[in-house]
Subunit: 366 residues, 2 copies
């Protein structure tokens, strides 16, 4: 039984690409009301996956049917493997068969994989369709559904094909996290804690003080956390929509390591959030070696990760492969690897890589 | 022996996406000098095709090597069939293997197919790379290389996957048209004549007065025509970069029919320019039926097409299939097909479709 908690609506201000994020418990059953401006009278294509579809697709399609001209839907296999060129090809042809036109609206109903994949379809079909996100995982709610990064993986490179394509609206229902499995719920917390570490000490302290409420998925606390994170993300994206000024790069704390871990150990062995919590631990060790933070910072970060059951230990094998994978990261600029490293709780900086030896040492749990 | 004709440099003004079009005979051998600002010190990937590569690739790569950090190149099969998802997939993986990063520059060396394909790769790899066009066909020089429309075909829909992605620079060497086969040269003239018909009566009259020079590929006349067309295109694109105000739609005169002809009769049977010269003839007949132009307009258009050996007769078969294909066109808005139709030499308007019977009649050569 979900009580409706306080609504937290946020605006992402990007000129004519501005959009609202409506964070409301139960919003998934009020789509006709809340998404009316974007969807009324339009042709809608809902993209979901084999995990989320069986639980929410019918309700969501019903909501859209009340206001849309026509509603089609596509279900892809759940999991990172669907974020690939061949699934894209299939989706492009499917929506082509739906007689989709440039006034149609693509809806992503699912976690980060569905959002990234459907978003890239929206960005590229007919040179760009309107796009609406209904993220159903914690990770997607606090991170990937906001900010317009969409894309797919290449066999050797994660997220390497894509676009900056802002949604017209993001509908976030914290109560759908009830149906999220523990591993994905906890993995999402890695991105939540990241916001505290990179830009908001108060958020980090709120998380430290609410570990039990987080673990029990207290809806009031979750709603507050999600909106807090979305506001953090919105602030960064407003400053640097296309990752050109460097500001947006702070969101990549732990991600250079994390992407390498996902790539080397195979997408799927580690959830994204697990890979980046390990990555943030490596990054903190590197920052400590460079004299940017002290041991107390590292301990406090590790303690919160452990409290919510996030992994903190890097695999003890394949360190050379991890280093090589990092050198292929999109954050490599003209051959020079850059790292986002902390200086204190709530602040990170972009620094040049200190060299392979230091990186290899940072992979090792001391 | 190519004498260097007057340089015609044009600027496309699109705020921070502005770029120069350098129309200079022999510019293909002065790349290091003319493209220095975009390319110096960068990693360059030249994409070309199996027709153009053997003639120009070595000279172009040599030019870039003088200023770039590193030059890689890829040759795709010549022809419309390469504008597909599977070639895209291959290119994405190839440039991934080149350790391409977000500061690399993609160069399209070829006609419209290469420009559209390489442009979409540039728009989508690493969420967007700098892009330089060296168009080698008349059609690409006067139309597809300018304005940022890039993309690929789906099995059932031409140009249906793509982006608006402006190049950083366009290098046009009119003297490379020497090596273009007659069919493609003449097909390109369809787009040239189109500019006169849709927006510039003086250009149309200049073409009428210079048919012989056009047929003999006089370099002075060609340079003047190319720059005239690029300026027309730049003016339209500046007013309506993403085809949202309706202004850019004027460029689609003849294209609703033309795309249907290409699609129904198979890409490759008609060159794009041939399909749209037929399309403009159908559109003129439709405009006459609607009382928008008189017979004199139609005759004058037909006469110029025939003078340069462009086809004017629509195939007598598959008219129902053509109609159905038109209904699937991207210009269908909420189910209503729109046409760009002329009112006089130098002016066109966007009008709602008059109904299937009139469209079917317009397909018939009277």
């Amino acid at each position: 039984m979900n009580q409706r908690t306080k609504d937290h609506d946020i605006q992402v201000n990007l000129g004519h690409r501005s959009y609202p994020i409506n964070i409301q418990t139960g919003v998934i059953d009020r789509i006709a009301e809340v998404a009316s401006e974007v969807v009324s009278g339009k042709h809608v294509v809902v993209v979901t996956d084999s995990h989320v579809g069986p639980i929410y697709l019918q309700r969501v399609v019903g909501g859209f049917q009340a206001i849309a001209k026509r509603v089609d839907h596509i279900t892809v296999d759940a999991g990172e493997k669907s974020k690939c060129v061949s699934t894209c090809d299939e989706l492009w042809q499917r929506i082509d068969d739906f007689n989709t036109d440039r006034h149609s609206v693509i809806v992503a109903l699912g976690g980060g994989v569905v959002g990234d994949l459907a978003g890239f379809i929206a960005a590229s079909y007919a040179r760009g369709l309107n796009f609406l996100q209904i993220p159903t995982s914690l990770l997607a709610q606090v991170d990937s559904s906001v900010g317009g990064k969409v894309g797919i993986n290449l066999p050797k490179s994660k997220n390497m094909v894509g676009a900056f394509w802002q949604p017209k609206q993001v509908l976030i229902d914290p109560s759908v996290l009830n149906t999220l499995d523990d591993a994905n719920y906890i993995a999402g917390m890695a991105e939540v804690i990241k916001y505290g570490l990179i830009m908001d000490q108060s958020l980090f302290e709120f998380l430290e003080a609410n570990v039990e409420a987080i673990k029990s998925r207290d809806l009031e606390v979750l709603s507050k956390i999600i909106s807090w994170c979305c506001q953090c993300k919105a602030n960064v994206v407003e400053e640097d929509e296309t990752e050109s000024s460097g500001r947006r790069a702070i969101l990549n704390y732990g991600h250079t390591y994390g992407h390498a871990i996902e790539s080397v150990f195979g997408y799927g062995k580690y959830l994204h959030g697990q890979a980046i919590s390990i990555g943030m631990e490596c990054a903190a060790r590197l920052a400590k070696e460079l004299g940017m933070v002290d041991q107390e910072f590292c301990d406090r970060q590790t303690k919160l990760f452990k409290a919510v059951a996030l992994p903190t230990d890097c695999p003890e094998e394949k360190h050379d492969a991890l280093l090589a994978a990092m050198m292929r990261d999109k954050k490599v600029v003209g051959g020079v690897l850059k790292f986002i490293l902390p200086t204190r709780i709530g602040h990170v900086e972009l620094v040049d890589s200190p060299g392979a030896d230091a990186i290899l040492r940072s992979l090792q749990n001391i």
